[in-house]
């Protein structure tokens, strides 16, 4: 179920989808975002980073990892970690259902390494073209909210879409690619 730019993902929440957007001419100032729903909020990721979208399937747990790392799956011979974004964002957990999907993303680490990771979301929503100037910087939410993963906020069809900085989000803290564990054990 590979997703190209022309593909329209089948989501549960795309009733208002503007047909003219899909396949529209893209200039340098416009980026395409795949959006997904997480507890009623709509989040967007750069569509070029999306490798594929697949249904939720059982994972193999990895011990001694943070709770939001659900485990690892076998993606055609590669071991790919699966991150639950609800837990990552400290939201209320949800039973996984038929619309629960895993978006497989390519994450770029600082040293030009690219890694493949999957994120569990409630459902895929839509694909939007957003002009760069339409993306507003995230306001300071104050101490209570960690906004460092938010690249910006965009308004599409009068709705707010939170654009995520996945490289930052999936490289931080426990997910950092540096293999510290071995060093520390001594």
């Amino acid at each position: 179920m590979a997703l190209t730019e022309q593909n329209v993902p089948v989501g549960d929440n795309n009733s208002q989808m503007d047909q003219s957007i899909v396949g529209a001419e893209l200039d340098e100032n416009t980026q395409q975002f795949l959006t997904f729903i997480l507890a009623g909020e709509e989040y967007g990721v750069d569509i070029l980073r999306v490798q594929e979208i697949k249904g939720w399937d059982a994972v193999t747990q990895v011990p001694n990892t943070p709770e939001y790392v659900r485990g690892v799956i076998n993606l055609r011979g590669t071991i790919v970690p699966i991150i639950d974004l609800r837990i990552r964002f400290s939201m209320e957990q949800l039973e996984y259902g038929p619309t629960t999907v895993v978006i497989v993303l390519k994450v770029i680490s600082g040293d030009d390494n690219s890694r493949i990771m999957g994120i569990v979301v409630d459902g895929v929503s839509d694909v939007y073209n957003v002009k760069n100037e339409e993306i507003n910087a995230a306001p300071d939410f104050g101490d209570g909210v960690d906004s460092s993963f938010v690249k910006g906020l965009a308004t599409v069809d009068e709705k707010m879409v939170i654009i995520l900085d996945i490289d930052h989000m999936l490289n931080s803290n426990e997910l950092a690619s540096v293999s510290k564990a071995v060093d520390d054990e001594e």
């Binding site: 193999t60 485990g71 590669t78």
Partner: protein
């Protein structure tokens, strides 16, 4: 050459590097003084093929450089030169330089000309020093070429003299001298003189053999390389010397009555010794000031030398080019001794008088004048050589009289002035390759054949319409066959990646050789089990840790000779490097008979740095093991020599990253043994599947000692938290996997579980699991590629049903359990 050679370049480089490795190994194996001919031959052959290859690919710098080495080796091979330690060292250095040159060229960067020139100079000097120590070089074609300028730009306005003697079988290779002469004639005015003296009688003559030799003179402004190119394909099939024509010398020589000289010398030869003795006597009497020049040598030595030189001159009278060259060389050396131009005349006149005295009546005027002319010529040629010699510590008071001979020196001006460009290693992503023996490939092809047969059998079975009991039986046996084929094929494919560990070991003799010299220790390195095979990836990564361990043994382990003697040990220390297979592992042992680790010092140091509590009691092995702790400075502990950069903790970490272990056993005063255990391959592992809760884990089979059912009466608690299991009088700590991994076990009752006793780095633990599944080979997948490394987990694999199973890292688990135990200890201590 019109076709593209570049496709062969990669092979050339690969072969050359192999050749260099061989040269290095064999050079180190050379016994100084009495060298084994076969060894020298091997080195020579390696050098020769590098030279040949580099010539073909137009890498002239490499070809020229190798040529000098080859010449030196050739002399050693022919017994004309003794194998001295100095020569071996210079050759080793040359191997290094060559390696650098080749890798620089491979990376398409510019060469470090200074360094090359320096080492080449050393080689040249060594070569030039031939006749000053020992017998003079008798007509030696190779030597001559060496001393000539190496640059292509070297031209000679006067022209060139080419001495060309095809080996007997040259014609059989399809090379026709006539064609070559025609090509030469196209370059300039060609004169050829043929020497047919070796022509056998008509009846004995083999028409396919070449019996002639030619002396060709080529006039005009011609590049030496152009001439060489003509002879390029016969280089190995002939004796060839190309020398710049020296007008006056040759002409004068032509006029000399060679026959007369020869007869007189023959007459004098029996009195040779007397002659030279008289000569020196006379010389010192007449010119006492020259005496100082002979300070460094005994009269006897000098006399034999002179006699040999005279013989050389006379025997080569007919080969002017050889003679001119040899004399020029001699002149060059004389300058180094501080010989002045005027002294040649003194020598000549003295010699003439002495000869006259001995020859008596046979010394006619004609003979005298011919000899006088000959000696003058000899002196003049030597003077030319002197002038050509590079200025060194001897002030050059030589006044040039005639210098038609171009400088016959080492480094060409261009090269010397070449700007020094630092050699940078470009990180070219070169595709690495391995050489596989044809046997292994053939075996694989056989296996594929069998696989195809099995496949066709199975598909035939699938097409049968009445599928009954009988067919099922057939299907089963077919599947079994398929399984066997697959396994065998897998093993064979893995074997392709396997290389003998000698690839790693072979660099150590050099390391030990260099380092022991530097440290002033006498050390013998013994290698064994070099043919033990190991995966290429593992091999590439084990090199550095091994180097570190060996250096450590050399540096800290083996004592200096006086200390050893005082301790009643032989002066020469021994380091034994051994490799063997054990189970699915390869074991590498580094044994030294040095002082061993200073355990007391290590312990006190560890206590001081807080690694060990003040009151902790540690077993000797545990103390020795402390050297692998990060932040534990070995420099202070064992010796003052340090500055390595990497510590033992890095060694252990690197080895662990390969899935291996390293430990040390030491006996104070007797030495230490470092043992490295490595998996044979990084790709596949024999595993035991175990169940903990809902998860399946793989335990590497090599780590498992045994699996037992839990008998609760043998479980003993310590402080109510840690538990040990008593297994045949041994207390083994229990590691509850479900606790460590934080999962809910299937059975809460320990008695229903199983204990898998595993061992790593000499320590045992018992893993508590819920159930054992089957044993299987698993393909190792890295967790780190897309995730990160996890404590206690060495990787993941994909099971038959497509799910992921994690592979346990036994070493990691042991250290987790130790950490838990120590936190408990602290808790109890605090309480």
């Amino acid at each position: 050459m019109t076709f593209d050679m570049s496709q062969f370049l990669a092979t050339f480089y690969e072969e050359s590097f192999e050749g260099l490795d061989i040269m290095e190994t064999e050079l180190l194996a050379l016994d100084v003084g009495e060298a084994d001919l076969e060894t020298i031959n091997t080195i020579f052959r390696a050098a020769h093929s590098i030279k040949g290859g580099s010539g073909t690919f137009g890498l002239n710098d490499v070809a020229n450089f190798t040529h000098v080495m080859e010449t030196l080796l050739d002399e050693m091979r022919d017994g004309k030169r003794e194998v001295t330690q100095n020569a071996v060292n210079i050759l080793l250095e040359s191997v290094d330089v060559l390696r650098e040159m080749l890798s620089t060229l491979q990376a398409e960067e510019s060469l470090d000309n200074d360094r090359i020139a320096t080492v080449k100079k050393k080689l040249d000097d060594l070569l030039a020093g031939t006749s000053s120590e020992g017998a003079p070089v008798v007509e030696e074609t190779a030597v001559s070429e060496v001393s000539e300028p190496v640059t292509e730009a070297a031209t000679s306005a006067a022209g060139w003299t080419i001495y060309f003697k095809p080996h007997e079988d040259m014609l059989q290779t399809g090379n026709d001298p006539v064609r070559m002469f025609r090509e030469l004639a196209a370059l300039g005015e060609l004169n050829s003189v043929v020497d047919s003296s070796h022509l056998p009688e008509f009846l004995l003559m083999e028409p396919e053999n070449s019996c002639f030799e030619w002396t060709l003179t080529l006039k005009g402004d011609i590049k030496k390389s152009d001439i060489e190119e003509v002879f390029e394909w016969v280089e190995d099939g002939c004796d060839l010397t190309i020398t710049p024509t020296t007008n006056d010398n040759t002409n004068e020589n032509d006029e000399l009555d060679v026959e007369l000289l020869e007869t007189t010398f023959e007459m004098l030869a029996p009195q040779g010794e007397k002659l030279v003795a008289r000569f020196y006597e006379e010389l010192f009497k007449r010119y006492p000031e020259v005496k100082s020049l002979f300070e460094n040598t005994t009269p006897e030595k000098q006399q034999t030398k002179l006699l040999a030189a005279l013989e050389l001159v006379v025997s080569n009278l007919r080969k002017q080019d050889v003679l001119v060259r040899t004399l020029t060389e001699m002149g060059k050396r004389h300058k180094n001794y501080g010989v002045q131009v005027e002294q040649y005349e003194a020598v000549s006149s003295t010699l003439l008088d002495v000869m006259q005295e001995l020859a008596g009546e046979a010394w006619t005027d004609k003979v005298a004048s011919t000899w006088k002319a000959a000696l003058e010529l000899v002196s003049n040629t030597m003077i030319t050589g002197q002038q050509a010699a590079p200025a060194n510590e001897v002030e050059s008071s030589v006044v040039p009289e005639q210098s038609s001979t171009p400088p016959v020196s080492t480094a060409s001006p261009e090269k010397a002035s070449a700007k020094k460009t630092p050699v940078k290693r470009k990180a070219t992503a070169e595709a690495s390759s391995i050489r596989v023996s044809i046997d292994k490939v053939d075996e694989l092809i056989n296996m594929v054949g069998e696989l195809v047969i099995t496949q066709s059998m199975l598909s035939q079975l699938g097409e049968e319409e009445n599928f009954g009991e009988n067919q099922i039986e057939k299907l089963k046996s077919g599947l079994m066959q398929l399984e066997r084929n697959t396994r065998e094929m897998q093993e064979n494919v893995m074997r392709i990646r396997m290389l003998p560990i000698s690839f790693v070991f072979q660099r150590f003799p050099r390391l030990v050789h260099d380092l022991s010299g530097k440290l002033d220790k006498k050390i013998e390195l013994i290698l064994s089990g070099e043919s033990t095979e190991l995966d290429k990836t593992v091999m590439e990564k084990i090199g550095d840790p091994l180097v570190h361990l060996i250096r450590n043994s050399l540096d800290h382990g083996i004592e200096t000779p006086d200390v050893r003697v005082a301790a009643g040990k032989p002066e020469t220390g021994e380091i034994h490097l051994n490799a063997y297979h054990e189970g699915g592992n390869i074991v590498i042992e580094i044994t030294d008979d040095g002082a061993g680790l200073n355990l007391e010092k290590i312990l006190s140091k560890a206590k001081a740095s807080g690694l060990v509590g003040d009151n902790d009691k540690l077993a000797d092995e545990d103390i020795a093991d402390l050297i692998f702790q990060p932040g534990f400075s070995t420099a202070d502990v064992v010796s003052d020599v340090s500055g390595r950069g990497v510590g033992m903790d890095v060694v252990r970490r690197n080895i662990r990253a390969l899935g291996g272990t390293v430990d040390v056993k030491t006996t104070t005063g007797k030495g230490s043994v470092f043992t490295i255990r490595l998996p044979l391959t990084l790709a596949i592992l024999d595993g035991q599947s175990v169940v903990v809760g809902d998860e399946v884990y793989i335990v590497p089979l090599v780590a498992i000692i045994e699996s037992v059912q839990v008998d609760t009466s043998l479980v003993n608690g310590i402080t109510g938290q840690a538990e040990v299991y008593r297994l045949r009088d041994e207390y083994i700590p229990i590691v509850k996997l479900h606790d460590i991994f934080n999962i809910k076990p299937l059975h809460d009752d320990m008695e229903e579980g199983l204990l898998v006793v595993v061992e790593a780095e000499g320590k045992k633990v018992a893993l508590l699991v819920d159930d054992l599944l089957g044993q299987q080979q698993v393909v190792i997948k890295s967790l780190e590629t897309n995730f990160k490394s996890v404590e206690g987990i060495s990787g993941a694999t994909i099971l038959g049903d497509g799910t992921v199973a994690l592979i346990l890292d036994v070493t990691g688990l042991i250290s987790i359990s130790k950490k838990n135990a120590s936190s408990i200890k602290k808790l109890t201590a605090a309480a």
